[in-house]
């Protein structure tokens, strides 16, 4: 009797997750291994040609390369800026830390299209930077700051930076200060203490921050389009372009290539940082 009641709790969320999350993905994979059709979503013939034609095309390989390069730069910058910020936040007294974390959380709640528009307003030809430089008499012709890979990097990096800071700060503020005190009383200076004690203990936060930033970079179509324009397209733009030209099997295959990249990089990040060796030993 009791078990029937509790299983009834599970049925609705499980049904929604299976029908509208797992199911569509299985169907998407099914479409990706079928030939294109001029009238239907996909043709009858079973084929791997969608994958092989993408992976054999130097145009797509360049896009994949650019996607990985852009993501790597964004990740690196987020880590270099985010770690000291997280350290600063973690050392604040608890009430002030809450306020600062809320200030970091609030931008994440604002839609990315609004935040990308903010960057358009700053970097555009009539934007804040160009007007400022012109008023100072430094330039006559507005600079082309928008529609470049650099604009995408700056925009996405700042949009995703709070994820990195919050992840690392949460781990750092949960660290037992006695670890650092022990290292110091054994004669380690502040730098050695940081490199050998604090940094390794903070890997769970670093890993989850890196994963969030990387995965969100891969699917940030709107930000990439608004700041990168037509010349700085990434893999996700190719998925969208295939959809608007009704190339469904190709779009599906591109989606699974994107997913494979996401999984591979997740595996690499976990293997290199090995956050699991820290978890459960923090207390």
């Amino acid at each position: 009797m009791k078990s029937a009641w509790t299983w009834a709790l599970l049925a609705p969320p499980l049904a929604v997750a299976l029908i509208f999350f797992v199911g569509p993905l299985v169907y998407l994979f099914y479409v990706s291994v079928h030939a294109a059709s001029p009238s239907e979503l996909y043709g009858d013939a079973l084929t791997l040609q969608n994958y092989s034609s993408i992976l054999g095309d130097s145009f797509y390989l360049r896009i994949i390369q650019r996607t990985l390069g852009t993501a790597a730069v964004i990740l690196g910058l987020c880590l270099i800026i985010g770690y000291p910020v997280a350290y600063f936040v973690a050392l604040l007294p608890s009430r002030r830390r809450m306020v600062v974390l809320l200030l970091l959380l609030f931008p994440l709640m604002v839609s990315n299209v609004v935040r990308a528009y903010g960057w358009v307003a700053i970097l555009g030809r009539r934007g804040v930077i160009n007007t400022g430089l012109r008023d100072l008499g430094l330039i006559d012709v507005p600079l082309d700051l928008l529609y470049s890979t650099e604009a995408v990097v700056v925009g996405l990096m700042t949009i995703l930076l709070p994820y990195m800071v919050i992840s690392i700060a949460n781990t750092l503020s949960g660290l037992d200060p006695r670890y650092e005190e022990a290292a110091q009383s054994l004669g380690a200076g502040p730098i050695r203490t940081f490199v050998h004690v604090t940094l390794p203990l903070s890997t769970p936060g670093v890993a989850s921050g890196m994963l969030l930033v990387f995965l969100l970079t891969l699917s940030a179509y709107v930000t990439i389009t608004l700041l990168g324009g037509p010349r700085s397209k990434l893999l996700v733009s190719m998925i969208y372009d295939s959809v608007v030209s009704f190339q469904w099997p190709r779009a599906a295959a591109l989606a699974f290539i994107l997913l494979a990249i996401a999984l591979a990089l997740t595996g690499i990040i976990m293997a290199v940082l090995r956050p699991a060796r820290v978890q459960g030993t923090g207390r």
């Binding site: 998407l28 959380l105 609030f106 528009y117 307003a121 009539r126 934007g127 700042t158 179509y221 969208y240």
Partner: protein
């Protein structure tokens, strides 16, 4: 933690200042631009005016997109909260492989590239002939559910199980125990889960990009297509500012009801 050298502290302080400038400046510029009296973006604006907000509510497509986004956020957050709460109540006290798998399944949309989910749902909807509104609603539910699941799960796990056992040993059935004991004790988690689902739905881009239909466009997608095809008209700044204002109101409201710490911990 007194080991901070002062050059280290200066470095961290300036990194923090730079980070906050980079994160908040774009939002600040949008809000300032929304109150411009001029036809085109000028910074700093020569005065203040509400004309772009008036223009926003005068434009049918903007107003409709705003209303659609509000309806979607309210409905999808509510459905997602019910579903997430049910899943969390079931899994909170279970361990083992199957429970672990189900927990991963419920949390997966949190990190899953949403553009792929949007494409997958688009193909499914095209095949079964799903109308636009329920299609968007279900997509937003799938994306909002993990947030509710996670916050409620944390609340139930923090609950002392002897309270529920006491209720049952005093003769309350499972439904009475749920409504009279468990829910009143976890409603903070339920409410902050609802807030997250609402906010996520209200700003959602990647699935709505594919699933919006003619005449049924969400506000973020309407802003996006304006920016892409009609340039940066300042009515976009007004639309964005309304988005930001609504989120501030939601966060402030929840802060009063649930408290600041809980919002941050639930992230």
């Amino acid at each position: 933690m007194k080991l901070a050298l002062s050059p280290g502290r200066a470095l961290r302080g300036s990194a923090t200042g730079l980070a906050f400038l980079l994160i908040l400046a774009p939002i600040g510029v949008v809000v300032v631009a929304a109150f411009s009296p001029t036809d085109y973006f000028e910074f700093p604006p020569p005065g203040l005016s509400l004309r772009w907000f008036v223009e926003f509510f005068r434009l049918d497509n903007m107003r409709n997109a705003f209303v659609l986004s509000l309806e979607l956020a309210l409905l999808s957050a509510t459905v997602a909260t019910v579903l997430g709460t049910l899943g969390a109540l079931f899994l909170a006290r279970r361990h083992g492989v199957i429970a672990g798998l189900m927990q991963s399944l419920f949390l997966a949309p949190l990190v899953f590239p949403t553009i792929i989910l949007g494409l997958a749902l688009l193909l499914l909807y095209k095949t079964v002939g799903m109308p636009v509104f329920p299609g968007l609603l279900l997509a937003h539910c799938v994306i909002g559910m993990p947030y509710c699941f996670r916050t409620v799960l944390a609340s139930v796990q923090a609950l002392d199980p002897s309270l529920e056992e006491a209720g049952q040993s005093l003769g309350a059935g499972p439904a009475r125990t749920l409504f009279l004991i468990t829910l009143p004790l976890i409603w903070h988690g339920v409410l902050s889960g609802w807030l997250f689902a609402f906010v996520v739905s209200f700003g959602e881009l990647n699935t709505a990009l594919f699933l919006s239909g003619p005449g049924l466009t969400t506000l973020p997608i309407e802003i996006f297509s304006y920016l892409q095809f009609q340039g940066s008209q300042l009515v976009i700044a007004a639309a964005s500012t309304l988005q930001i204002a609504l989120i501030i109101v939601m966060v402030a409201g929840i802060e009063r009801v649930v408290g600041l710490g809980r919002i941050i911990r639930s992230r």
